[in-house]
Symmetry: C2
Subunit: 162 residues, 2 copies
């Protein structure tokens, strides 16, 4: 698996699984009916943000991550990131590889920490993955997320100092 900078030419390979994940509405607080142009604008970030893809040796896009300052001004030394792995390629370490890549990027860019603003508590695989990469659950906003099947559930704010 290789992780490389995403280009505009990668978006057609990202959109199908991005769309499936967003439309399911279970893991991200994005509008479930988010259209393709708005999705592209949200995911394919210009500097100081950055978007990467994880590809297998034949070039298949397995997943993608975007990373960016979490805030501006006096808050711009904290990064944030979001991750999407094609469900067809789950359980292959794609999310972990993307997470490790984001940690390396944030360190290299001089960020002092990474904050995840909204990790849905029912997304237990993601919570466990981020914990294994050194992120802590700083707090949980109770009933902060409306899950389409489970109703109101909490979301975690997770953080890792760099």
């Amino acid at each position: 698996m290789l992780i490389r900078e995403a280009t505009a030419a990668d978006w057609p390979a990202i959109w199908p699984f991005f769309h499936v994940i967003v439309a399911a509405g279970e893991t991200y607080p994005y509008p479930r009916d988010l259209g393709e142009p708005a999705g592209r604008q949200m995911w394919m970030l210009p500097p100081p943000g950055r978007t990467v893809v994880a590809v297998d040796p034949d070039g298949t896009v397995l997943g993608s991550a975007k990373m960016n300052p979490n805030s501006t001004g006096g808050g711009s030394h904290i990064a944030s990131a979001s991750f999407m792995v094609d469900p067809r390629y789950a359980r292959r370490g794609v999310g972990r590889a993307l997470g490790e890549h984001v940690l390396a990027w944030a360190r290299a860019e001089g960020y002092r920490g990474i904050q995840f603003n909204s990790v849905i508590e029912t997304n237990t695989a993601a919570v466990a993955l981020w914990q294994s990469l050194g992120f802590e659950i700083m707090t949980t906003i109770p009933e902060g997320f409306r899950h389409p099947a489970k109703g109101f559930v909490g979301f975690h704010i997770m953080y890792r100092r760099l």
Copy 2:
């Protein structure tokens, strides 16, 4: 003191104290050199957001608040808000009146909670005010904010269920 909807005609009265507060860089993670057009776009929110002003009986604008959903999709039932009080009219209860107004607005709009994403811990007057209005410090991101005089300080994520 009256709190009413802000209109485009109020912006010239908001900008001077908005600019002073943003340029000081002590209480909001906004770019300190934020220009007037970008400031206007950031502060004067279209629906579903909303911006109000607190005015005294002669019409002087004493402060302003903006309020908005904190997120989209499955997170759109949590509100957020930001507040600016003209330093010349501090200690008159303007912030409290704006805060109470935002609480009433959020309840009326059916939000289930209000989340403040970044209350700088050195802004003790604001922290105390929000606590007195029922907000809790959910967590503090250590060194999450670079204060121009005090260096790296924490910021609180505060929340109140409605």
